[in-house]
């Protein structure tokens, strides 16, 4: 019986996103035909520009790295029943802190020291920005959606002001290059990755996802976090301090998004640049949704959206950029709409009446 339960869980987790993906594919076909192109040609180009060559694959890995972090940031919060719309600001804060730390360290600081210090700075800065809505919710009952959205504006404006007024290299929008703490690009080990931005941050992101999975499903902290998300009253009854869990969860979520900042800063450009996040914080919401708030799902969804993004560049000659954005929107909508629906189809109206 246990195996049936396990199989059903896997089916419930995998089939709905699959349906959504297929719906998105069919809609994509129709859109491509509408702009006068051949779907097979476009998809072939998309595939060859992403998974079809080392460079494209490397770029997919690079983009997925940031998305894994921001996706985790959203999904951890959602597991505790919290909406974290603040990924963009947390990501920027993390990247900025890493860049500043890399600047502050004396040149020639060995990587074993500098890299952990820079990563810690990213985690701390993201966590700090993340904790604010947690504290505001726990102490004053402020709704976290509003706080996180407003914080995005505040954090980005503040960082950009610092960069523009104190830290930027003339005629650019970025800080000076870091003197220590950069992480290796994969092309240094695997030469075919030449030119692509993928770097060792990818492994750090995957380790983070593994830790998040362990935390959520194997630890007492995760037990309490999920209980707060599912039934706050029951959690409270079970001796869980709900407000504390909110703060702790937002701290973790912010730190995860902040960790995403190292991908660009430590691994790629070695400086903080305004707007480097490019919406990855917001896309993290879609990644979490499609990934069903499970770390493994988040990784898979991050690869999906990274492929769409890099593939969008590759097919630019045939299809306008806006079309790729529409397609991304369709994937998100299809998953969001399909999942509860399809789940009902799968399991009958399991416990449908009990509110």
């Amino acid at each position: 019986m246990t195996t049936t339960i396990a199989r059903r869980r896997v089916e419930e987790a995998l089939l709905p996103p699959l349906v959504a993906l297929l719906v998105a594919l069919v809609v994509g076909d129709i859109l491509i035909i509408l702009v006068g192109q051949s779907p097979s040609a476009v998809f072939r180009l998309m595939l060859s520009g992403t998974w079809g060559n080392w460079y494209g694959f490397g770029q997919v890995l690079y983009k997925a790295t940031t998305l894994i972090c921001t996706g985790l940031a959203v999904s951890v919060a959602l597991r505790a029943g919290l909406f974290n719309i603040g990924g963009e600001g947390q990501l920027a804060a993390g990247g900025f802190a890493a860049a500043v730390m890399g600047l502050a360290l004396p040149p020639g600081t060995p990587g074993v020291v500098a890299i952990p210090v820079c990563i810690a700075a990213a985690l701390a800065a993201g966590g700090l920005v993340g904790a604010i809505p947690g504290v505001m919710k726990a102490r004053f009952g402020a709704h976290e959606v509003i706080v996180t959205i407003m914080l995005n504006f505040i954090v980005l404006a503040f960082l950009n002001w610092i960069v523009a007024s104190h830290l930027h290299v003339p005629e650019t929008l970025h800080t000076p290059e870091m003197r220590a703490g950069t992480v290796a690009r994969l092309m240094e080990w695997v030469s075919p990755f030449h030119g692509s931005a993928v770097n060792a941050s990818l492994f750090i992101a995957i380790i983070a996802a593994t830790l998040v999975g362990w935390m959520l499903f194997r630890t007492r902290a995760g037990y309490e976090l999920r209980a707060v998300g599912l039934q706050p009253d029951a959690a409270e009854y079970g001796g869980v301090r709900v407000g504390t869990v909110w703060i702790r969860t937002f701290l973790i979520a912010g730190a995860l998004a902040g960790l995403g900042g190292i991908n660009y800063v430590l691994g790629y450009k070695h400086y903080y640049e305004e707007g480097f996040g490019g919406g990855a914080g917001f896309l993290g919401i879609a990644v979490a949704l499609v990934g069903r708030n499970h770390p493994l799902g988040v990784i898979i969804a991050a690869f999906l959206f990274a492929t769409l993004s890099q593939g969008g560049l590759a097919i630019h000659a045939l299809v306008p950029k806006q079309m790729v954005e529409v397609l991304q929107g369709v994937v998100i909508l299809a998953v969001a709409a399909a999942v509860p629906e399809v789940r009902r189809l799968v399991s009958g109206a399991r416990g449908g009446v009990a509110a």
């Binding site: 902290a221 029951a234 009854y237 009958g348 416990g351």
Partner: protein, 529 residues
């Protein structure tokens, strides 16, 4: 029973939810103009069978037929709720489906709003709802917000809503679980009037006195099958109970023999203040009102103090304040010699408090957690590797604990990995009981411990509570069932309007005396304690 007088016929019904087989070949025949009691233990498949009839699910096998106005039977197997409503089949669920922010009238007309142009015709809605209520003796105030209603009133609204949609076959799922004795009497009146008016009523219940009181015919289910059918006038509670559980049982209605107050008994004569509960002039606010108003009480070791009262008179707030789930405005709470007035939930648990909450769906269980995970709720810190750590939970110990409790408390199905949601109400409650009473504790708060639970489980839970008393636990019992209070308590306190209006020794507490107290009449024979 001739075919022409049939209203509903269900035959050979099978329905499974994953591994749980809720119905296996169940059948049911209900005549027109009758009140039909569908009885059985929780998990026997009664609710599932009725949800199939109301179109909430489709059966895996079997046929469902209902009578057309001309009296012919029409096959409606697998129909939708919309079809069912159109054909006059309506169901009043255990968990109300009302919009709390709308008025009574708006809730009743929801989905069939009378309109004038594009606007809701509020005046007509109010008029219609009022008239309908008067017709069947369902007292409601159409302008009030549903969120402000008591459960009993909310239930009336739920019934009105079903009638407003033209229901001629009315299914009620354990309607009395939330009602005071007076409200139950009123409900019976309503149901009889409906029947005499030509309606057919199916009543899901497991309370045998109700079955005897109100029904015309009875169908008994066990393990998803129909095991007996009878005319009420030919039945006795013993016969029905035997059919329900498949063996002889000691019925709950039979009083435990008069017992002296526990203070006199040997088990508690050792005055151990450490393990008793005392509450002094407690005030608890809820939405700006004094929900608990200067309540004082104490429970000695080896004693059960029962709190009787109509729901919504402060019992919930009192219990939650003692459990640490509500802040105390004034007064003190002591566990033994320890002041826990402002202590955390966990600190109270550590001080020896166990709590069976009144609402297992909201507080008592995390429904999507497995049985095993639910069995450690509140004790999760004890199952971490290394005390007080936030690190990994020890799955081996959690599993062993689950196997142990499942066996000791006969939780069915005995699958610790199943989500709690998929178990029947009785077995869900057993998880809560096992968790709270399976470990060590000194004081037990038992709030509605047998609500929505079948006869067999009630017997089991009552035995557990009695055994706990014998073991010297101090027990504060809150129940909306006066019979439950009378069956268990050594002393009975009556709560009304947030105050304790009387405390009586068991031998003086009779239904005749308690009934008026519960509805606010002052007790002239004895001052409030």
């Amino acid at each position: 029973m001739t075919a022409s007088s049939l209203a509903v016929r269900m035959n050979g019904i099978h329905k499974s939810f994953g591994p749980v087989r809720a119905n296996r070949g169940a059948s049911l025949e209900v005549g027109t103009r009758e009140i039909h009691a569908l009885v059985g233990e929780n998990g026997a498949g009664k609710s599932t069978l009725m949800r199939l009839l109301a179109g909430l699910y489709a059966p895996d096998a079997g046929t469902i037929e209902i009578a057309t106005p001309s009296g012919e039977m029409r096959d409606v197997t697998g129909w939708s709720t919309a079809d069912a409503i159109k054909a006059g089949v309506g169901m009043v669920h255990q968990h109300f489906m009302l919009v709390r922010t709308l008025t009574v009238a708006e809730n009743v007309v929801l989905g069939r709003e009378p309109v004038r142009g594009a606007m809701l015709d509020v005046a007509r809605a109010l008029r219609d709802v009022k008239a309908l209520g008067e017709q069947y003796g369902l007292r409601v105030e159409p302008e009030r917000l549903v969120g402000e209603l008591s459960v009993g009133e909310a239930q009336r609204v739920e019934i009105l809503k079903t009638l407003f949609r033209g229901a001629r076959i009315l299914i009620l799922d354990e309607p009395t679980a939330v009602l005071s004795p007076l409200e139950v009497k009123e409900l019976w009146g309503v149901l009889r009037r409906l029947r005499d008016d030509g309606a057919t009523i199916v009543l899901i219940t497991h309370k045998l006195d109700e079955v005897m009181d109100i029904s015309d015919r009875i169908t008994v289910m066990r393990h998803g099958e129909t095991v007996a059918r009878m005319e009420t006038r030919d039945a006795t509670p013993d016969v029905i109970a035997k059919a329900m559980v498949g063996r002889e049982v000691a019925l709950m209605g039979t009083r435990n023999e008069e017992r002296g107050s526990a203070v006199d008994t040997a088990t508690s004569s050792a005055l151990v203040p450490r393990s008793s509960l005392s509450v002094d002039t407690l005030v608890v606010m809820n939405r700006g009102l004094r929900a608990v108003d200067k309540v004082s009480l104490s429970v000695a070791p080896g004693e059960i103090l029962g709190i009787a009262g109509v729901e919504g008179n402060g019992q919930t707030e009192l219990i939650e304040a003692i459990a640490g789930l509500r802040t105390v405005a004034e007064g003190t709470i002591r566990l033994g010699d320890r002041d826990v007035t402002n202590a955390s939930v966990r600190a109270r648990t550590e001080a020896g408090l166990a709590h069976i909450p009144e609402d297992r769906h909201r507080r008592g269980l995390v429904l999507d957690y497995s049985v095993a995970d639910n069995l450690i709720l509140g004790d999760q810190h004890k199952y971490a590797r290394g005390a007080r750590s936030v690190w990994a939970l020890d799955d081996a110990r959690i599993g062993a604990n689950a196997q142990d409790e499942i066996r000791r408390f006969d939780i069915r199905p005995p699958e610790s990995a199943l989500p709690a949601r998929s178990l029947s109400g009785g077995n869900q409650q057993k998880i809560v009981i096992a968790r709270e009473m399976g470990g060590s504790y000194d004081v037990l708060l038992a709030s509605q411990p047998t609500r929505g639970v079948d006869v067999g489980a009630i017997e089991f839970i009552h035995a557990q509570i009695r055994a706990a008393r014998e073991a010297g636990k101090a027990i504060l019992l809150v129940s909306a069932e006066l019979s439950e209070i009378l069956a268990l308590a050594d002393r009975v306190a009556v709560m009304y309007g947030g105050r304790i209006v009387a405390t009586l020794p068991r031998r003086e507490a009779t239904e005749e005396r308690l009934g008026p107290l519960m509805t606010g009449a002052t007790d002239t024979t004895r001052p409030a304690a």
